[in-house]
């Protein structure tokens, strides 16, 4: 463990403003997908053709094979890695008994006609599970030279599952995600710390999400007439076909995935996010100052918003739109202008909740319920929270495309942290989640609720499928990293943290960063080495918990016994001492000895501020660097100690227990009385009901 530098102890570090960077306008377009697909709503199958062009990004490696993700094969049978790990359940939804899904590549050839199908083989780079078919490799007849490219023609059939794990159908509702043969990422030596170049193409695990290269997509979607379609990107055309179907075309550059939806029942709501009307000049000015940028550098762009709603929830259209606008505004201001022209928000059908709460480039799925149309349930901000959260992913997973298999926290954790801040900015601090019959719950409550004191067995930085138990993925990928960032902000301040996040996003927009890249930005912007911090809270397993071991204050007594002084030796008897103490007390010159023991009960060592309040005096602060497990503070002064509190400003969001952070020397019975009265009332009512049945 590295030494904690004293300069870090106080939250007024001088942040070194990172050099302003312009936002990248385009990605390094490694892939080009041209896909045409037709949906058969009777068999729930997609029949597709894909023209895929891949450019070798390496400067040195000739690549002789291509590795593909075939994600839908995770739902083919119970033997896949995904189904084994999930036990057939994900996000509270069970796999339907008749709901299997799969994807078959029916033909694959080079653009010059060489058949590659005989070379196609399934591989299992993560767990060797021979029954898992979510990664396939094809051998190329000729290696693709550095900088060179290859074009393949692929025909495939995808059978969609009953909605499970984000994708599938329910009656005539379709959410189509991870539905086409998708290339993995070829990482040259040096990229993401690799020593040698190679494919990064993991199997589909229950707890993993996705990783792919940026490129361009042009997709034709043919569905029966009468279906309302939404998709990633901009709609570039539509035509009616003679056979009673309709074809919609979409295109988008600088993305790494493509999803779409179709449902004849959708109600369509459209809105426009206006960079001039939805953001005030004062807001531009404030954020520009916060980030140390010019107003022009933080200016946003207009975006067309489309919301596809279930008919029974049409009343909630404006809530979705407002939440989307809040995301466009705040994330855009803080991290960088949203670069795309469109955003589609999908409200999945009832019974298709498994398709909700997911992100794809320019396309997100939210989720709601009919009950939220009406008071008092409309005061629960589930709709807003999920929309703001999923949109937040656009800025992390979407544009700063880290490898979600290997470092899920870099997307989920940053998005969770960002969501909290955006919700507070849009809806206020105490009621971002709900205001319901007098109960309020804000983002801070959720963070505290999610901070699990028993979570001491996993690291944040781990492969998505390595958490034990698997359910811990949620805490270690979403909540703990969010608390890590909140605590970091507590130490470095709001301005420095804003500049860290902006710099990281700008530098890695359209890139593939890893954790070390984020840490490097933190160090650069703050001018401090934060390795000691991240080593403990991202790479380590322990928790943060400081508490007051003991606190006492008592009248200082005159000493008894024999004392030597320049004037000679004197003996102070108990009677003399008592008399002196009485005199002092009567003269108002009583002094008090106060002793406080502060303890570090958790394994993580962080510098803390300890606040002391003496009678009639303003609050005083001391610091402790957290070395050792206890620190004793002693005072002798005319005032009694009233209370002591560790981290009084609540900067250390990671602390698993705030209740033990402080001690009053004169207890306050009001909190217990207030709560106990309600508890007593509840029980009294229960007994009256039972006793007078």
């Amino acid at each position: 463990m590295r030494r904690v530098r004293p300069a870090v102890l106080l939250a007024f570090l001088v942040a070194v403003p990172a050099a302003a960077q312009s936002l990248p306008e385009a990605s390094d377009r490694v892939v080009d997908y041209r896909i045409s697909v037709a949906l058969d709503p009777v068999t729930h199958k997609l029949t597709g053709r894909e023209t895929l062009t891949w450019r070798n990004p390496s400067a040195t490696d000739a690549v002789s094979e291509l590795q593909f993700h075939l994600y839908l094969n995770a739902f083919k049978n119970t033997k896949s890695t995904f189904m084994k790990e999930s036990g057939g359940q994900l996000r509270g939804v069970d796999m339907a008994a008749d709901g299997w899904g799969w994807i078959d590549i029916t033909s694959i050839a080079t653009s010059s006609g060489e058949d590659l199908k005989p070379t196609l083989a399934f591989i299992q780079p993560d767990d060797g599970n021979r029954d898992d078919q979510t990664v396939a490799v094809v051998a190329l007849p000729e290696a693709v030279l550095p900088g060179g490219s290859v074009t393949l023609e692929i025909a495939f059939v995808s059978k969609l599952p009953r909605v499970f794990a984000r994708t599938g159908y329910e009656d005539d509702f379709y959410l189509v995600g991870q539905w086409f043969p998708k290339l993995g990422v070829y990482e040259p030596a040096g990229m993401r710390g690799r020593e040698t170049g190679g494919w990064n193409c993991h199997q589909f695990h229950a707890s993993s999400e996705f990783y792919a290269d940026f490129g361009t997509y042009a997709v034709e979607i043919t569905v029966p007439a009468g279906y309302v379609v939404g998709a990633t990107g901009e709609r570039t055309g539509e035509r009616a076909n003679a056979n009673g179907t309709k074809t919609y075309t979409y295109a988008q550059a600088d993305i790494h995935d493509f999803a779409w939806t179709a449902d004849p029942d959708y109600v369509v709501a459209k809105a426009k996010f206006s960079a001039t009307e939805d953001v005030t000049p004062a807001e531009y000015g404030r954020i520009a100052k916060l980030l140390g940028r010019t107003v022009d550098e933080v200016r946003l762009a207009d975006v067309d918003i489309t919301v596809l709603l279930q008919p029974s929830r049409r009343q909630q259209a404006q809530r979705h739109i407002d939440a989307a606008k809040a995301g466009l505004k705040w994330y855009g201001l803080w991290y960088g202008r949203y670069p795309y022209k469109t955003l589609t928000v999908v409200d999945p059908a009832p019974g298709a909740a498994g398709a909700g709460g997911m992100e794809y480039p320019t396309f997100i799925t939210a989720g709601s319920a009919w009950l939220f149309n009406y008071w008092p349930f409309d005061r629960i901000r589930a709709v807003e929270e999920v929309t703001v959260h999923e949109f937040g992913h656009q800025f992390w997973y979407g544009m700063v495309a880290n490898n979600e298999f290997e470092e899920a926290w870099l997307d989920e954790g940053l998005t969770t942290y960002s969501t909290g801040k955006a919700m507070v900015a849009a809806y206020g601090p105490d009621a971002t989640i709900m205001e319901f019959l007098g109960l309020t719950m804000g983002d801070r409550d959720v963070s505290r609720a999610s901070n699990d004191p028993a979570a001491r067995y996993n690291r944040v930085l781990a492969k998505a499928w390595d958490y034990t138990p698997p359910g811990d993925y949620g805490f270690y990928s979403y909540y703990k990293p969010s608390l890590v960032l909140g605590t970091l902000e507590g130490y470095i301040g709001e301005q420095a943290m804003a500049r860290v996040m902006r710099t990281y996003h700008e530098r890695w927009r359209f890139g593939h960063p890893r954790s070390e890249d984020f840490f490097a930005v933190v160090n650069e912007v703050t001018g401090q080495d934060w390795g000691w911090y991240f080593d403990q809270v991202i790479r380590g397993t322990d928790v943060v918990d400081y508490d007051i071991g003991s606190a006492r204050t008592r009248a200082a007594r005159t000493g008894l016994g024999v004392f030597d002084s320049p004037g000679g030796r004197t003996t102070v008897s108990e009677k003399d001492a008592a008399a002196k103490d009485d005199d002092a007390s009567r003269a108002g010159k009583q002094r008090y000895e106060s002793v406080v023991v502060v303890r570090r009960s958790g394994g993580v060592r962080l510098p803390v501020v300890v606040a002391f309040k003496f009678e009639g005096k303003p609050v005083e602060r001391e610091t402790w660097d957290g070395r050792g497990t206890t620190k004793t503070f002693r005072f002798e002064r005319p005032e009694k100690l009233e209370w002591v509190e560790i981290d009084p400003d609540r900067r250390i969001a990671l602390d698993v227990n705030w209740l033990n952070n402080g001690r009053r020397l004169e207890p306050d019975a009001r909190p217990a009385a207030s709560w106990t009265s309600r508890w007593l009332f509840l029980i009294h009512n229960l007994f009256v009901t039972l006793g007078l049945l």
Binding site: P350, L659, P671, I683, N685, V688, G691
Partner: protein
């Protein structure tokens, strides 16, 4: 119906000590699980500056810190204490109703209220307890059957794509189950009234008779019950409105006001329930002025007595 409701309210008002006694008894019982909880919470929240957050609003973080780390065992103790006291409350309902009905029925008895109450409670306790068990078993079986039936009937609605259908189906099932449960509980009330009136000893017959009474007068019986339940619901709404809109109970005067309001609400509920018992009793008296006695069958006088059989040789008394 209105006459019975009026009479019930008058009876409860005339015998206010019933309300006070029952309020106090269940309040005392409630203190059993409340006191250790208060001690636990006071020890933790009182000493922690963070605890003051709850004086402003319900703080989920404080609650979780309290239950996850500061006394995990406290939750177990709380649940056990609540369960034990709830069992006592349930059993004591048999005693309470015996007391209520005895007090209502002994207006001309000059003995003290407490004497009458405890006399009735003790006299009818075991019989009312047996009636309550019958009602409980019956209600459980009937609500199970109704729930299964409603689930089958509403399945098309649940399976349809119309989302409100699911909520309507659930509401319909819950309503049917509640009406069914109410039927068995109301039958219990009328069976108790009948037993108190004619001191009958066959509880099965008394309960079946109670069921029959309710089924023959559904509108009136449910009407009386709904009227009183509406008042109870209003009390709950008033309390919730206060909790929602009043400033958080952060000062001692505000806490005292909250406690006062809470206890007034409970007192109100007890008064309403006692009134409902009075109204039901009045309705029973009105509907059945002279209760049909539960007669144990006796041999008919018209049947000729059997001739005595000749004694067997062994039984003949030797002369």
């Amino acid at each position: 119906m209105t006459a019975s409701i009026r009479e019930g309210l008058r009876a409860a008002a005339r015998h206010q000590k019933l309300t006070w006694l029952l309020w106090a008894w269940y309040g005392l019982l409630a203190l059993v699980p409340a006191f250790p909880v208060w001690r636990w919470w006071n020890q933790v929240l009182g000493a922690s500056p963070e605890g003051a957050a709850v004086l402003r609003r319900f703080d989920l973080g404080v609650f979780l810190d309290l239950t996850r780390t500061e006394g995990v065992g406290g939750l177990g103790l709380m649940s056990t204490a609540v369960a034990a006291a709830a069992a006592i409350a349930l059993v004591s309902s048999a005693f309470a109703f015996g007391g209520i009905l005895e007090v209502f029925g002994a207006d001309d008895d000059r003995r003290s209220f407490m004497h009458r109450f405890f006399r009735g409670g003790g006299h009818f306790f075991w019989r009312f307890l047996r009636l309550a068990i019958m009602a409980g078993v019956g209600a459980l079986l009937a609500t199970g059957a109704v729930s299964a039936l409603m689930t089958a009937l509403t399945k098309p609605l649940v399976d349809s794509e119309w989302e409100p259908g699911w909520y309507l189906a659930s509401a319909a099932t819950v309503t049917a189950v509640l009406i069914t449960a109410a039927l068995f509980l109301l039958a219990l009330d009328y069976a108790r009234i009948r037993v108190a009136r004619d001191d009958s000893r066959s509880m099965l017959k008394a309960y079946v008779s109670g069921l029959g009474f309710v089924l023959r007068r559904l509108f009136m019986v449910y009407g009386i019950a709904i009227a009183f339940l509406a008042v109870e619901a209003a009390l709950v709404v008033i309390y919730l409105a206060y909790e929602t809109n009043a400033p958080a109970a952060g000062t001692w005067p505000a806490i005292a006001a909250l406690i006062l309001l809470q206890q007034l609400a409970v007192l109100g509920r007890v008064f309403v329930r006692v009134s409902m018992a009075g109204a039901e009793r009045h309705f029973h008296l009105t509907a059945l002025p002279t209760p049909v006695p539960v007669v144990v069958a006796e041999p008919s006088a018209l049947v000729a007595p059997l001739s005595p059989l000749p004694a067997s040789p062994q039984e003949q008394i030797p002369t």
